[in-house]
Symmetry: C2
Subunit: 953 residues, 2 copies
């Protein structure tokens, strides 16, 4: 009697049906529902579809001969009929691929119908081997995580999420790519649970993705069918009851009260897959690193608050005795004014414009680098812990198709074409559309529309910004002309506040528009793969949204007030309106206000309205729409099945919006941090909420997404790193051009008579001879009749100089200093960033060591196994006589006449021997793998030595 | 009767001994010499060593029990005796690992003794599997390289090296990592030649590297033994006769007459391994890309030549009628002088300082980026064509030890420690030195010495530069005081020329010193792995050599003339000597001279003396030393064996010096290209020679290096890319500060009365009132008695201004413009570089497509094979009756009762069936792998379908 080898060792009795979670199983209560396909019966149709009549869980190879029974539903409209045929062929092909199918028992007149898929063990094994899925082996690696000291762990304890012990214990099973040949190596306790639901879902999705539909429609994959409307949706099920421990924690993770705790990233990954796990890990790292940034930001702000009363420039500005008479702020209607009236702005300005800000800008630039480096390390640790190291990048294959589910218009051409280039099976049939490569001529119109549209969008953004500027100029001019003194005194505040709010609203509206435009534009390009599609989409959306969010801020930072001209020679727009100037305290305070309002407003409104409000509204709408069918079911007294519940949720639309929101926020934190040191704090507060919000959304409001394997966060890393680099330049310019830091330095070291800041305000103000006003621009009625000179903020020659009102030597000197600072700052920070990135190794040290240890362990396991096999065969030899004939044959086969070698033996015989010998199953197991081994390494001298030694003993 | 499966199919009769190349085989003429170990018999010793008496080629497991016969050589000195014991143990361990050993028949009194190693087929197989060496499969991929058009290929033909057709044909065998289980897949025509000599050498080296020597000395690996002096050398043999076609081409490649041809990179790689192949490929790409750079450089230079007669500033300088009287160039001895006398320098200066140079600087920065991107692509193509894609980075393991061979002092501690951390086998024995980790306390002194030494070296370099400056200042002052007018008129030329030559000599000397210092310093650091060692060494050597080569050039570019002061207020060093000024034509011309002389001199001298002369001298020395033994052999009438010949060659000392030379040259080409547009041309001329020189050296003057697998050029890429980035900044500063480009622009657009350059020279010269000379500094005797003002080149207020001799407004204006240009240039070029790097995909398109195709092909092969197996088993079933018992057992084992499945069958039985059936070997082959398959995929429904279809037919 013989047993089949290797894999027979791990066979268990089939696991008993679970008591709970009925909705997660086929009607037999044993087979898990791994995936659900949903379609809508759109017309009235009382006939049972031919395929569903004969469907039972044992029907496996009925339709495999490729001939379909003629459709009985001839009363259907052609479109619907065709769709049913497509579904029939597709599902038949799924069955041919090994999946098992269960359909709804009764066919509903309308409403959603569900096709449930189950992947049996052989299919799971086959696909797991194909996908090179890593599974735990029996080998346990101990001493894992022992590097953390006990004190630190105790201190850290309250922040850790409550995760069942075994998940974070010190033991770790070595993992290895699944292979059907090495089943005995894996830690298989039950075939039902060896592959968790997430993996099962991924495997079924992989089959769905590549299954073709040749006869009825020339397409590949479920996503195309969804795009064509053949199916409504396809999703794996949430398994709240099955993975109770994990999900309880997921829900704990999603609670706001857990805001101070670490996230249970490993569980998130187990439930949602690597891609979503990486998102939350990234968000966690970002939020965590915002804490030190916030603290330093608060300290810098505190420094500003503490020094505001000792700061000489702002004291001088507030000093009424100095009595600088300033030139009027508008033509005609405005009067001369005293600088001391702008004291408030000056003091506020000092809060953000002080030497600590320069330090903070450098700090934040390095912080950005540190963040990226830290993330790189974390990413590598995660991909190591999740067993993704060494796997080839299958991301190209296991890419997301989910965005297409959200598209209303079916972009079939793109889909089929993209797929067609990846797989070539469609060329089998005659009726297929040609899957030739698109030439550049085909692509040219797409690119053309793309570029022109993006330019148009840029133009739109700029004109929006410009409109707000015009609004500000005109309204302030009009209000200045108003006779009411109450209005007059509040001009600046009113205008600024309303303008910023208009900006914010415009940004929010354009943001939504641009998101959709980017999708449309990317579709026009017909990218080849889905990864390609995603990358292009992200890049476009990022460009548009970045411009949209930052254009008004850039205007305030670098352009406002620079084209205003000088008294007697102002710049005018629309003939009459003077270009706006900055506040007397400098443009920095305006930049700060603009930045804080847009940042806070964007976050609050997007979080509250777009992320909470709109999904709730959508859910409500869906609930009303499906009211009929659910009510009917309720009448029948059945509890709603899990697939009904999940179908009621919104479709998962990809991580792009989540990432995008965070990246734009990262811009607020890094780009203009020199002007607003509290930005990290606000970002931190937002993110603490954001994590829980996203978690809640993923757990309770979205259908379960397919687990997607991903090693990294992809193009987002590049965007982050690009932004980090850009922020260095921007901060350099903000410090040197927007703030008064450089002029102060130059004054102190070059012009100050005694090396202090006394006299700085006087130095920055130029003289203007009031007789030089152009006709009509001088104040109509002035309280200062007797003055002959007024002052304005600029470095220009005084009226009594030979080249009056030209830029003075100080101007060029300050300009040179500013530019030199930009060069110094940029290169210094870039150099420091390089050093930081170079000093911090990409791969954490413990991971390197662990990788080495694991490699060694695996080799040891391998060697140990070979040794055991030899000892076994040796003991067999000592019992029975060595089969000389067999070994002779073997040597002949080897073609080497090596006398004295008799340890190897043809496998068949050995197997027979072992089989006859009976013994414990463990022995059989070894023998089985031994037969494999003899085939592997014939006559290795090392083995021979071991062998001969054994004989000596 | 049964045959062992799978691997038995490929067995050939052992190949017959080759007729030629006797020196490459053991004395039996059949077994290849894969590696040679050399040791010197240092004392007179007429006794035969005990091990060598019994050595014959069949002695395989004699010493495997670990007990050595007591040494008979008691008359040996202890050191020598110990070494012999170590050799005995080591060689015994090599034999235990499967290597076969042949020693010299007679023991020579003194002179080198050779131990020749041969790796038999099983060892090769085992190690190839372990090292995951890629070997060609039988599957042929056609259509390779068809993307190139025929016209292009014909045009390209004369530049292609003459390589045998089959190597560059359109067919390519798919390659796959070697596995003993899949022997039938590989294209094995003969076991002797399946692994080429390079691979065999690598495999033996791998064994040599990891073989331990526990009892006699606690070490691992051959390199430690060489460092200890146990062995003299270890190397694989050159096989000039065996690989005749390839080597003929190698020699063709090494001929100067082939300078215009592409290199036969694939052959180079085949012979020398990937690492050296990559070096030559890199050198080739670099040289190739120097061609367009040279052409553009020549054009830019040509533009300078063409416009020199129409250039207004230089015309104005030469115009004697303008008659600018300049302030004297030295105190007292020198007289006032006319600017028109410096006409020659002005004209020469224009050759290099014209607007085209700015364009060229931008061009070269982008060229550097393009070069790196192009190399990245080439590297990926190469590693794809060489089958390195997808292999894990074994470079850490298969690293080079060769540098140690060149070290005289044995750094045993470092070696054993480094090895000890990589492998843990040494802990087996008791007497081993502890392989604990070094704590930071152990490392601190090393680091301290390191940093202080590097600082000391920097100081040395700087003081060398400073000494040359002092030399220049003093000599020119002394020569100026000389009464001889002939000397006086040649001051500048003489001083400059001698100073540059002194610089050059200093650089060459320090270069050699620094190379050795870097090695010494790196050893102090005790790095963990050899890759680590190499990287640190390279980094240190690069830093030191870079500083050394560029310090004088940096001085001339950015510091010379900036601290000279102004007339009446000069800066003095050593009380009496005025700091040197630039020539009247600007510093750029001096920079240009400095650069060209150092670059050309360094290349010529290093090429001629260090690379040709010194090796020849060394060879001569070795020849004289070994004269005795070779003469004796000649007396015996034997032709010298290949190992004798190879031992006479110099040891291979790594690629670091070769790369370093090229990287420093790359610096000349990229860093200061704005000042010397002809640099690429000179580099090109040098490299064309360099390639052939290096090739010649590797083929004929060095022992054959061990083939080392490498995917990329490692840290050199980072250094190149860092230099590319640095060059952007340097070029920006050279253009804006060293050249007169910006002042000219500022003059033209801000100060010129009519928008032309007329009056520029006058504008750049400030006035000095001769009455303001400090006492004793005015010219003692002057031909210009009547002048009251002299001119000097600077932007300062005239003597009649209120703040006389202060920097003027123009100065600040020009400074601001210069700084603005730096910012603009740097950011523009960096942005363009990013765009270029982003637009060019890292992986060439055809490689991506080919990878896809190959993956598909491999899957197809796999599927096809499974199908064939099933057809085979099907046909077997139709002959014999299906064995119901067997299939029943199988199903039981699977634990799944699936009626109607009878296609699978336990492997043992099938095998028996096939074995009985006899038939052609091909059939056996399939059956053997079939048995493997049944174990692989039990009851896959897909297979079942195929099966049932087959039955229907």
């Amino acid at each position: 009697s013989m047993r089949s080898p290797a894999w027979s060792c791990v066979v268990d009795s089939p696991s008993t049906p679970h008591g709970y979670g009925e909705g997660l199983y086929f009607s037999d209560g044993r087979r898990k529902v791994d995936y659900v396909l949903v379609f809508h019966q759109r017309r009235h149709n009382s006939l049972r579809s031919p395929a569903s009549t004969s469907v039972s869980h044992d029907r496996l190879s009925v339709v495999s001969n490729g001939n379909f029974p003629p459709s009985a539903g001839s009363d259907l409209a052609p479109g619907d009929h065709e769709m049913r045929l497509i579904r029939q062929e597709f599902e038949a092909n799924l069955q041919e691929a090994g999946l098992e199918i269960e359909r709804d028992k009764e066919i509903k007149a309308h409403g959603p119908s569900f096709t449930r898929l189950h992947a049996p063990w052989p299919v799971l094994c086959r696909e797991a081997e194909f996908l090179k899925i890593r599974v735990p082996t029996k080998t346990v690696e101990s001493g894992f995580g022992s590097s953390m000291s006990t004190v630190w762990r105790k201190l850290n304890q309250p922040f850790q999420p409550k995760v069942p012990r075994q998940d974070q214990g010190r033991t770790k099973f070595l993992s290895h790519s699944f292979s059907r040949e090495k089943l005995h190596l894996y830690n298989i306790t039950s075939k039902e649970t060896f592959f968790d639901n997430t993996t099962r879902g991924r495997i079924v999705y992989e089959i769905l993705r590549r299954t073709v539909c040749v006869r009825t429609c020339q397409t590949i994959g479920i996503s195309t069918l969804i795009a064509k409307g053949v199916y409504d949706a396809a999703f794996p099920l949430h398994d709240v009851s099955a993975l109770s421990a994990a999900v309880l924690n997921l829900q704990g993770w999603a609670r706001y009260s857990a805001f101070y705790k670490y996230q249970p990233i490993d569980l998130v990954r187990k439930y949602f897959g690597e891609k979503i796990g990486l998102y939350f890990a990234w968000l966690g790292v970002y939020t965590q690193l915002l804490i030190p940034a916030s603290i330093v930001g608060i300290i810098v702000f505190g420094y500003g608050v503490a020094t505001v009363d000792t700061n000489i420039p702002s004291l001088e500005m507030c000093d009424e005795s100095l009595n600088f008479t300033m030139c009027p702020l508008c033509d005609g209607a405005c009067d001369f004014w005293h600088l001391s009236t702008a004291c408030g702005t000056a003091r506020a300005s000092h809060l953000f414009d002080n030497p600590a800000t320069v330090f903070f800008a450098i700090f934040m630039s390095l912080w950005a680098v540190l963040f990226l480096e830290h993330w790189k390390r974390r990413q590598i640790s995660l991909s190591f812990n999740w067993g993704l190291t060494g796997t080839e990048d299958d991301e190209v294959r296991a890419h997301t198709h989910t965005h297409k589910e959200s598209l209303e218009h079916t972009s079939v051409r793109r889909d089929s074409d993209r797929e067609g280039q990846m797989e070539t099976k469609t060329t089998v049939c005659h009726g297929c559309r040609s899957t030739d490569k698109l030439t550049w001529k085909d692509r040219l119109p797409g690119y053309f529309i793309n570029i022109s549209s993006i330019l148009f969008m840029f133009g739109l953004t700029f004109s929006a910004v410009f409109s707000v500027i015009i609004y500000r100029i005109t309204i302030s001019a009009l209000m200045a002309m108003s006779p009411d003194p109450a209005i007059k005194s509040n001009v600046r505040v009113t205008v600024s506040a309303t303008a910023v709010i208009i900006n914010l609203v415009v940004i929010l509206i354009l943001d939504e528009i641009y998101g959709n435009v980017a999708v449309w534009l990317t579709e026009l390009e017909i990218p080849k793969t889905d990864t390609n599609f995603e990358e292009r989409l992200i890049l476009k959306a990022f460009l548009l949204k970045f411009m949209n969010a930052y254009a008004p801020i850039f205007y305030v930072a670098f352009f406002k007030g620079r084209f205003a001209g000088r008294p007697g020679n102002y710049t005018y727009v629309f003939n009459n309106y003077r270009m706006e100037e900055c506040a007397p305290g400098g443009c920095l305070i305006e930049l700060c206000i603009q930045l804080s309002i847009i940042m806070l407003g964007k976050q609050l409104i997007q979080n509250n309205i777009f992320e909470i409000g709109i999904p709730k509204l959508k859910k409500l709408a869906r609930a009303i729409k499906n009211k009929g069918s659910t009510e009917k079911e309720k009448e029948e007294g059945k509890p709603p099945q899990q697939w009904n519940l999940d179908y009621a949720l919104a479709a998962f639309e990809g991580l792009t919006p989540e990432y995008m929101e965070m990246i734009i926020q990262f811009g607020f934190v890094s780009l203009f941090v020199a002007s607003f040191p509290l930005a990290p704090l606000f970002a931190l507060l937002n993110n603490v909420i954001e994590i829980r919000l996203d978690a809640k959304k993923f757990v309770t409001e979205l259908r379960r997404p397919v687990a997607i394997r991903a090693k990294d966060i992809g193009i987002w890393y590049n965007i982050l790193s690009g932004m980090g680099k850009f922020s260095v330049i921007i901060n350099a310019f903000v410090i040197s051009f927007t703030s008064d830091f450089i002029p102060r330095l130059v004054y102190q070291y070059m012009y100050s008579p005694n090396g202090t800041m006394h006299g700085f305000i006087d130095h920055t103000l130029s003289y203007f001879n009031v007789s030089n006003f152009k006709p009509g621009t001088a104040p109509h009625s002035s309280a200062h009749k007797d003055i002959s000179f007024c002052r304005y903020k600029d470095y220009r020659e005084p009226p009594w100089s030979t080249d009056a009102y030209q830029f003075s030597k100080q101007y060029w000197c300050v300009l040179a200093a500013r530019l030199a600072f930009v060069i110094l700052f940029q290169n210094l920070v870039m150099f420091l960033s390089l050093v930081v990135a170079w000093v911090i190794p990409d791969v954490p040290k413990n991971i390197v060591e662990q990788l080495k240890r694991e490699k060694k362990l695996l080799v040891d396991v391998f060697l140990q196994e070979e040794k055991e096999k030899f000892q076994l065969i040796q003991s067999l030899f000592s019992k029975d006589n060595p089969l000389q004939a067999g070994s002779h044959l073997l040597q002949q086969a080897q073609g080497i006449a090596a006398p004295g070698r008799s340890s190897t033996l043809p496998s068949g015989q050995t197997q027979a021997l072992v089989g006859d010998g009976g013994g414990v199953p463990r022995a059989r197991c070894r023998a089985a793998s031994f037969s494999q081994f003899t085939r592997k390494s014939p006559s290795s001298p090392m083995n021979e030595n071991e062998n001969s030694r054994h004989t000596a003993v």
